[in-house]
Amino acid sequence: MSDAAVVMKGVRKTFGDKVAVDDLNLVVPRGVVCGFIGPNGAGKTTTIRMIMSILFPDQGEIGVLGKRSAMESRDLIGYLPEERGLYRKMKVAVFLGYIARLKGLDGGPADAKVKQWLERVSLGDSARKKCEELSKGMQQKVQFIASVIHEPELIILDEVFSGLDPVNRRLMRELIEEQHGAGRTIIFSTHAMFEAEQLCEQVFMIHNGRKMLDGSLREITAQFNPRSLIVETMNPDDAPQLSSVPGVARVSTGSQRGASLGVVEVSVDEASQPARVMSEIVNRIDVRRIEIKRVTLEDVFLEVVRRAGGGDIDPALLARSSSGSSESGGES
């Protein structure tokens, strides 16, 4: 086995007739932050559970931290499951102490660490509360502490940003960066594209159980040629004229707010160069601003799903969300 944090080779997993994951190959080097994306039901949680040795693949091999399975390196792994797994009636600090002991920490240091961590995520006051008394976001933070308290080398976070408000999202981002800074490998699955873009060095996308993307964020966005221009005309009334410019396939007004300012998104047809079309537009119409639209991870995500036929996602829904994509951030 290689020394990478996680290696998967030809992994396949079925539940009855349904193929959850098929022929999955993946290498996550040590010390990177790897984002794991894909539509609902793509097989993300199944993959993560297989890495964790909670489920076992029908075919293929999985190596974790140089060992044959996560079983053998359990104490070096931190895991935050998708759904909140807390004992409802247990007190927060007692619960974390229990988990820390289960992960091999001794009693005294474990309790000191729990206290320190609760302070760090500003839950110091809640140590004596029962888990069920916490809000969803607070529970998520407790859960995060449970996954990192034993200072694991590999941290696997399933849907870590769900249910968090902007303040706590930022806190979570800082915590992940902190762990990254300490040299740990982090794999997290998410639907929050903004956070993924901010954090990831490596992005890994699956759809219908198959790998769609795997590489650094730069490599991936480069594969997706920008074919859209953002144009702001001096006079908002000039915007309709843009569609008569050669090479322009479609003009969409995007959001209501953009339209009233004269900001439109211009799609360039397959045959033309975006730069040519840009100079054409500048020659014909007075513009305040014109730029090639930056490709976001969200655009890539939607494009991949669209090309793959959408699976069980309605194509009309995809087209609509794509045009307004620059306005919506974060979780989609």
């Binding site: 559970r49 964790m52 909670i54 489920l55 079983m71 359990r74 104490d75 792994i77 931190g78 895991y79 499951p81 759904e83 909140r84 797994g85 807390l86 004992y87 409802r88 009636k89 247990m90 229990y98 988990i99 002991r101 289960l102 992960k103 091999g104 859960q143 449970a146 996954s147």
Partner: protein, 490 residues
Amino acid sequence: MKRTMQIASREFLSVVLTRAFLIGILIVPIMMAVVVIAISLVPKSPAVSGRIVVLDQSGLVGVLVEQRFSDEGVREEAEADGRKVKAMMKDAMSQVAVPEATRTMVDKQIEEARKASPAGKGSGARLSVELLKPDADIEKVKDEIRVSQIRAGSDGGTPARLALVIIPEGAVRGASDPSEVRGESDVRVMTWEPHEVFVNPQLDFELQTTINRRVGEAIVDARVASDPRFQNLGLSPARLRELMHRPSAEVKSLTREGEKQSAGALQILVPVAFMILLMMSVMSGGQYLMTALIEEKSNRVMEVLLSAVSPMQLMLGKILGMMGVALLLLAIFGGLGMAGLVAFALADLVPLFKLVWLGVFFIFAFFTIASLMAAIGAAVNEMREAQTLLSPVMMMVMVPWFLWLPISRAPNSTFATVMSFVPALNPFVMVIRMGGSEPIPAWHYPAAAGVAMLTAMAAAWASAKVFRVGVLMYGKPPNLSTLIRWVRMA
């Protein structure tokens, strides 16, 4: 192992330190106390005042009935009742062997109860007797009783008529058939004419019984009094009753150490007590285990735990933790039982080696049942789904109930011996057998324990497989054949 113990101690504390557990332990004694207090608080009979109308055609019974309802008659009856209860208690106590101190205590309490209600049964009622002339209009009296109002206490005026008693002459002077003479000439088969009692439909049941009893006794007294043979002997009805009282001896068993009060009925109760103890502690421990697992599965703590420990460690830890709970229950209730036996000086009914074997069979029975319960808990998503899978386990626990009597009466029968080697049942069977009266061959203990241990190991092995597959399986609940497939597969 350290982590397994961590899990075990958490499971133990999470059950034992809850209010529900404490209440569960206390509920039985509390309920018993409540019932005892409630019964003692219920008034014996309502305070009713009224008249009992007696139509006596024999001319002998009416006066006796009147006497029995007079203040003095009621007092006498109460005293006789007290004597009877005492005798009954003595009889009962000779069955279960009660030390002298307890005996005097019981006597004292009967005495006190009697003093507290001098009138005995029907204390609250004030009933008087009205004798009718033989030519009175019965239908009119019946109509009056039919509509009479039952009132408490006497608010002046004449008390309402509540009951009508008709005593025909033949009830006292019976007819005898000269053809049916048995043996000596004066032993003849008598036939008595029945008497009749009519009451208002609202009259309290206990008062109805009291009336019926007093009238019946008055008739017997009248029969005795009117028979010239008793008069010739100078035998009064009261004297006759004294003579007819059946005495009862205290049964003593002859042991090597000397004479002892016989354990009597307790001898049969010891095996069933052993079995109930075993069953109760095993089942409640198993139930806790199953519910805890279902809950953890549904709130997904399971995944967090499984990222730290292996399914085998988790299951073992949980079983050990719950075994602690079951052992605590066994110690509490068994300890109470032993304390009772010691208090009644009967501790030698349960020698120490039997208690040790009880512990051994408990461990194997618990491991077997708890493994199965853990597998079920891990396989389903909700309590509701667990019910169908539980029925085979329940059967296993119910069967010993049917075996109790045949096995405890004959612990060395072929049937009992064979049953002690049937896997899964044998801990229960052995516990019944060793509580029984006859000693069983010594080698049966280790041999049956061996079978029980192998059963427990097999159950744990199969359950671990189901547990590993089922614990993270959500969705359609599995049926029995699915579970068996999981055992084969994993």
